[in-house]
């Protein structure tokens, strides 16, 4: 229970130095530092390193940055802290270690939050993802009244009970960095260190894209195309999972959980875009979410049939 009192780390000066500090911290705690998933997702949880790897019995520890898209949150880059594209930092450890709260607090110190001056709180926040058929209990972590992270003990993912339970930490990187750096508007935040030969702010990197995507998300995205792509992804996902486990070419057992899950991710993103376009009614909304959940559950069912998901010759 004793708290590690670290020497005051050098205060990060930029967005990227905070990301680097988190990467170093979690690497030092033994996490595999993965890279972002190369698809459009709404949150770091969608990365298969979380969704699928939280299933099955194999231990796992990973941390990564995940660019995330929430089309409805676009504000043309004008709102001080709402973006349609932003970064999440994600940590998943299975089984959840008994000192996960202390490990987490250590990560805040690592990015320059002085534990003696701030008010850190764990406030009830139960997490549920109806699209992933997943839920867990935990908190949102507040630093001086600001939510800086989500802290969740996964209980179920893709309709499967989690045994053992994974501990998931999600940091909203922009908000956290703005807080640490004392910046009031996300666009003003230094992206690289001030004093770099070419200084870049968040606006230099993202202002243009925020405007473009806000316009596209809200007003121009072709809803017929989106709808078609949703349906194609759905059909494709099911088609992949209908294939027999034995690959006729190699003769190996290859359950294609990941390629199918890619299609599930795609369908989910198409749904988010359709939602931002305002063409989904409240009743339809539930139906769409249900369709994505069905895919997520099928993918989860498939993953636990893979070796990575804990399947063994003996158990089969």
């Amino acid at each position: 229970m004793a708290q590690t009192v670290s020497s005051t780390p050098s205060k990060p000066k930029s967005f990227q130095s905070i990301i680097l500090a988190l990467q170093n911290y979690w690497a030092s705690k033994g996490c595999a530092i993965l890279q972002p998933y190369d698809m459009e997702v709404g949150a770091g949880t969608f990365h298969p390193a979380t969704t699928l790897r939280s299933l099955g019995t194999k231990p796992w520890a990973a941390a990564y940055v995940q660019p995330s898209r929430r089309p409805t949150d676009g504000r043309y880059g004008e709102n001080p802290n709402r973006l349609q594209h932003y970064y999440q930092y994600q940590v998943l450890i299975k089984p959840s270690p008994p000192d996960l709260q202390e490990l987490y607090l250590g990560s805040l110190e690592a990015i320059g939050i002085n534990m003696d001056l701030h008010d850190i709180r764990f406030v009830e926040d139960d997490w549920e993802s109806p699209t992933l058929g997943a839920w867990g209990l935990g908190w949102e972590v507040w630093c001086d009244g600001m939510e800086v992270s989500q802290f969740t003990y996964f209980q179920q993912v893709g309709g499967h009970d989690c045994h053992p339970v994974s501990g998931e930490l999600t940091y909203g990187l922009e908000r956290l960095a703005m807080y640490v750096l004392g910046v009031d508007h996300v666009m003003d935040m230094p992206f690289n260190d001030p004093g770099s030969p070419i200084e870049l702010t968040y606006a230099d990197v993202f202002k243009q894209t925020e405007e473009e995507y806000a316009r596209w998300n809200f007003d121009t995205a072709n809803t017929e195309v989106l709808l078609r792509q949703f349906e194609e992804a759905e059909a494709h996902c099911k088609h992949i999972l209908e294939q027999p486990a034995a690959d006729p070419k190699t003769g190996k057992r290859i359950v294609m959980a990941h390629p199918a899950y890619d299609q599930c991710i795609k369908a989910s993103h198409m749904f988010n875009l359709l939602d931002a376009r305002g063409v989904i009614s409240v009743t339809e909304r539930q139906a769409y979410i249900g369709r994505v959940r069905t895919l997520a559950k099928m993918c989860a069912d498939a993953f636990v049939q893979t070796r990575a998901g804990g399947w063994t010759e003996d158990a089969a």
């Binding site: 229970m1 004793a2 708290q3 504000r75 709102n79 001080p80 802290n81 709402r82 089984p95 959840s96 270690p97 008994p98 709260q101 002085n114 534990m115 003696d116 001056l117 701030h118 008010d119 850190i120 709180r121 764990f122 406030v123 009830e124 139960d126 867990g136 209990l137 935990g138 908190w139 630093c143 001086d144 009244g145 600001m146 003990y153 209980q155 989690c162 045994h163 053992p164 339970v165 501990g167 807080y179 009031d184 305002g278 009614s281 409240v282 009743t283």
Partner: protein
């Protein structure tokens, strides 16, 4: 007598669950101890965000030894049966006792159960209680199988007496009990060894943990009000928030912060809601202007800079939150003030389902508009205004602010309708048409609000009646009882005379109007019973013509209730009943109805003549009074008949041998019945 101290130390327990959890811990554990024979003098339970604590004083050191007698087979039963009994009872042959009973010699086993040390029992019941604790939601963690609200980290379980303190050894899912707890997560995280409750509470206080939730709440409230007062301000009371905040901290420190000027133009309700819901801040108001100018936040610690960093952070977070609210507010205002105005929002409601058998919100609005227009003249509202109000009343459901803060529905509608340049009446209706939301909520009184509120509720009732989704038993998912009570209260408290059956038929021809009116009558009975009006009085009034005019019905019931509370009224009922009984029996026996033709010329006694005169006089008062719906006058005239009726029965034998006289007297009784039942159906009055 030893004392027991238990603490279940965990990761942060949700604030809303703490109080109940402490109560459950106390109840479950003490009940189980007592069941096992360990009684105690007193017990108290406490909760903080990280611990549930139970202190039991004056507990028995051991459960008492008990001797249990068990009846066995007959003494001459087969050996096998006796052996079976011995096995079951766990005794040997020489411990059996043979007794003579009316059924012969029977064997009895005396089973002696020695007392057990309390510690052993405590370990068992604590284990059981941890395993089956009734958390509203619980979870697993790591590789374990135990469920707790959040990971359980340590168990403190100590029995102490004059001789000292001892740990009750036990283990649950790998967690061993001990005599150790921990202080505040940041201020005093070290382990603390404790020997009993007083020691525990004192050491925790030193380690920056206030154990008692009420003490934490009191500190917060006192410090907050003092701080506000020192600045000439006042804290907006919020008991729910106070309880919640007291459950989020172990060491409360109150800080007051500023709201940036940019946001002071937001409606105060928006400020308050955003601060409470998102930040758990108390609002601090300027008592002169009513404007919310500051906020109070409660930190969980002291700092070297006296909370300056914490406060600055909280102010910054609030600014971000409020800039969102301001963004919604400004966008919404832009829509409301545009040429299309709130119609754009109404149009968006075409895609929002109200109920899958009752169409969209837009269709609901259309129905409300027609109905509000129809109702307008009856409630003194302008028909055009009422219709317009109904059309915009739900528009704010499409606004960004209400999407973000659903609890602001209606209120935002009012602001936006004002911004759209609509009349005050229309704007007020946007907010007030939802009312009354509960039995103690105010009903709308402005005519336009009344029209729209009635339209909303009548549409809802008739709609669900038409699709046969009526409330049953305790199930009322669409809050139709509340809607019915709303209709009743709006009509009565505004003194609106409305033929509800007509309104119901015109609102929705497929609803069973009679059944719905009966439902309204049922709710009305409940409503009036709470006001002390007897159900038989209500029945007597419901039986009358025009009972679907609820306001009239209530006036009649109130007048009747008052009349029956007088001496004359009470006696009149006796006289009426006597007249009615005699008349009914005679009509049944004779097979005729004595409904007219009483003539004073056949009267034989003065009392009979006096009754004729009194009935004439009463009728002369009652008929016009009833036409004017002046129930009080009509009923006091009726009550005045008490004496002449009593005198009549005293002096006169109705069933005279003279057939003409008898018929005339029965017809006279018939007049009593006609006159009295023109006021209310007195046959339904008890007694």
């Amino acid at each position: 007598m030893p004392d027991l101290l238990i603490e279940l130390f965990s990761e942060e327990i949700p604030a809303r669950m703490q109080k109940r959890a402490a109560e459950d811990l106390q109840k479950l554990l003490t009940n189980r101890l007592v069941e096992a024979g360990v009684t105690y003098a007193s017990a108290a339970a406490f909760a903080t965000p990280r611990r549930l604590t139970l202190a039991i004083d004056g507990m028995l050191a051991a459960s008492p030894a008990v001797t249990e007698e068990r009846k066995g087979p007959k003494a001459d039963a087969p050996e096998k049966a006796i052996e079976g009994f011995l096995r079951g009872a766990g005794v040997t042959r020489d411990q059996l006792e043979e007794r003579e009973t009316p059924k012969g010699a029977i064997l009895f086993a005396m089973i002696h159960k020695p007392g057990r040390p309390a510690a052993e029992i405590v370990a068992e019941v604590l284990d059981q209680t941890i395993r089956d604790f009734p958390w509203p939601k619980s979870m697993r963690w790591g590789s374990g199988s135990l469920k707790w609200v959040r990971p359980l980290q340590s168990i403190l379980c100590v029995i102490s007496d004059e001789g000292g303190a001892e740990v009750v050894p036990m283990e649950v899912d790998g967690i061993k009990s001990g005599d150790v707890t921990y202080g505040h997560r940041f201020l005093s995280p070290d382990a603390i060894t404790v020997s009993g409750f007083d020691d525990y509470e004192t050491k925790l206080a030193r380690a920056h943990v206030v154990l008692r939730a009420d003490a934490r709440a009191e500190t917060i409230w006192n410090d907050a009000t003092n701080m506000a007062f020192a600045n000439g301000l006042e804290v907006v009371e919020d008991a729910g928030l106070l309880a919640e905040v007291a459950g989020l901290v172990e060491w409360p420190v109150v800080l007051m912060g500023r709201i940036a000027d940019d946001f002071l133009g937001l409606p105060p309700e928006v400020l308050q809601t955003s601060m409470r819901e998102h930040q758990k801040f108390f609002s601090v108001r300027n008592p002169k202007s009513g404007q919310i100018e500051r906020f109070i936040t409660v930190a969980n610690r002291t700092t070297a800079d006296d909370g300056a960093t914490i406060l600055a952070g909280n102010e910054k977070v609030l600014s971000a939150r409020l800039s969102d609210a301001k963004f919604f507010w400004e966008n919404d205002l832009r829509v409301a003030k545009s040429d299309e105005g709130m119609n754009a929002w109404v149009k968006a409601l075409e895609n929002v389902t109200f109920h899958n058998k009752l169409g969209t919100q837009a269709e609901l609005i259309e129905r409300m508009a027609v109905l509000a227009r129809e109702l307008a003249p009856m409630v003194g509202a302008d028909a055009d205004e009422a219709e317009q109000a109904a059309r915009v009343a739900k528009a704010d459901l499409s606004s960004e602010m209400v999407y973000e803060f659903p609890e602001l529905q209606g209120l935002m509608g009012r602001y936006y309708a004002q911004a759209a340049g609509m009349s005050d009446g229309v704007a007020a209706a946007a907010q007030e048409h939802y009312a009354p939301l509960g039995p103690s909520d105010d009903v709308p009184t402005a005519p336009v609000s009344v029209a729209v509120a009635l339209a909303e509720k009548i549409d809802k009732l008739t709609g669900f009646w038409a699709i046969d989704e009526k409330p049953t038993g305790s199930k009322d998912p669409f809050a139709l009882r509340r809607a019915a009570l709303g209709v009743i209260r709006i009509l009565i408290e505004n003194d609106v005379s409305l033929r509800t059956s007509e309104a119901v038929r015109s609102a929705n021809a497929s609803a069973d109007a009679n059944d719905l009116i009966a439902f309204l009558h049922d709710r009305l009975k409940v409503y009036l019973r709470d006001q002390g009006i007897r159900h038989d009085i209500i029945d007597a009034c419901i039986a009358m013509e025009g009972n679907d005019d609820l306001t009239l019905l209530v006036k009649r019931a109130r007048a009747l209730s008052e009349t029956l509370n007088t001496d004359d009224g009470e006696n009149l009922i006796q006289g009426f009943k006597r007249a009615n009984n005699i008349l009914t029996q005679a009509e049944e026996a004779d097979g005729v109805e004595y409904s007219y033709g009483a003539d004073v010329k056949f009267s034989e006694t003065d009392e009979e003549k006096a009754l004729f005169k009194a009935l004439d006089e009463a009728e002369a008062v009652i008929t016009p009074a009833m036409n004017a719906q002046d129930f009080i006058t009509a009923m006091s005239a009726m009550a005045a008949l008490r004496r002449p009726i009593d005198a009549f029965f005293e002096a006169v034998q109705v069933n005279s041998d003279n057939a003409t006289v008898r018929r005339n007297r029965l017809n006279l009784l018939s007049r009593i019945r006609t006159i009295c039942t023109s006021v209310a159906d007195l046959t339904r009055i008890d007694g």
